[in-house]
Point group: C2
Chain length 122, copies 2
Amino acid sequence: MGDFERPGDVLLADCPARTTLDLVADTWSVVVVYALGRGPRRFSDLGTLIGGISKKMLSQTLRKLERNGLIQRRTIPARPPGVEYRLTPLGESLLEPIGMLSRWAETHADDVVEAQDQLVGV
Amino acid sequence: MGDFERPGDVLLADCPARTTLDLVADTWSVVVVYALGRGPRRFSDLGTLIGGISKKMLSQTLRKLERNGLIQRRTIPARPPGVEYRLTPLGESLLEPIGMLSRWAETHADDVVEAQDQLVGV
DNA sequence: CAGTATCCTATCGGATACTG
DNA sequence: CAGTATCCGATAGGATACTG
């Protein structure tokens, strides 16, 4: 190998960096973390806030992120009883990267649509 | 609606922003764009550069990104004949967001592993 | 070299129904 | 409210073989 690669690079298969990228590089993970960036939320509130997500995927995504230390689940002893999810410091550290990615998607969505049309024809 | 949401937000289902996020929020898309950030590359070179990717997924990912205007495919009339992929300006605009995401994965991979171990037990 | 085609398995993801 | 369980079709993704 040369000095071209750094160990732990996302280009390397099976390294922790790649595995970690795998963990967050999917739409639901990005959107859930993005939504929790607004502050702690209940399960049902997240379901409302995030358009198009099913209870199943919301639950799965929350548990995956929890297993990997990005979010924390807490039972609220209030009335009515409920559950609250919040970002951990690790999860918060992800807010800036996915914020940039989300902003890119919002900003360049029209460019993508235009490129698609270009290829289909006038 | 309140002033809480912006139209085109990734939180909204089926809007162009969400669709565009969907397009790039997966591991192979991120890694392929990341790899092409080093400059134009041939198909086989990308396969070597990107660890663990199969020809099938590389091909599929390249075509998807091409269809959506992020990369451009060009046939090289050189010897030996080949094909070269490069980022379009739109693709280049994605380099900073995914660069941040990749750097996050590299930096926080150990935190994730630690969090996993914590939950499994000592 | 640069792919496509096929096969097969695993996961994604929605819908629905049920539980505490 | 906050989920889990089950069913089902669609897609992801690897392996292998084949093509121009």
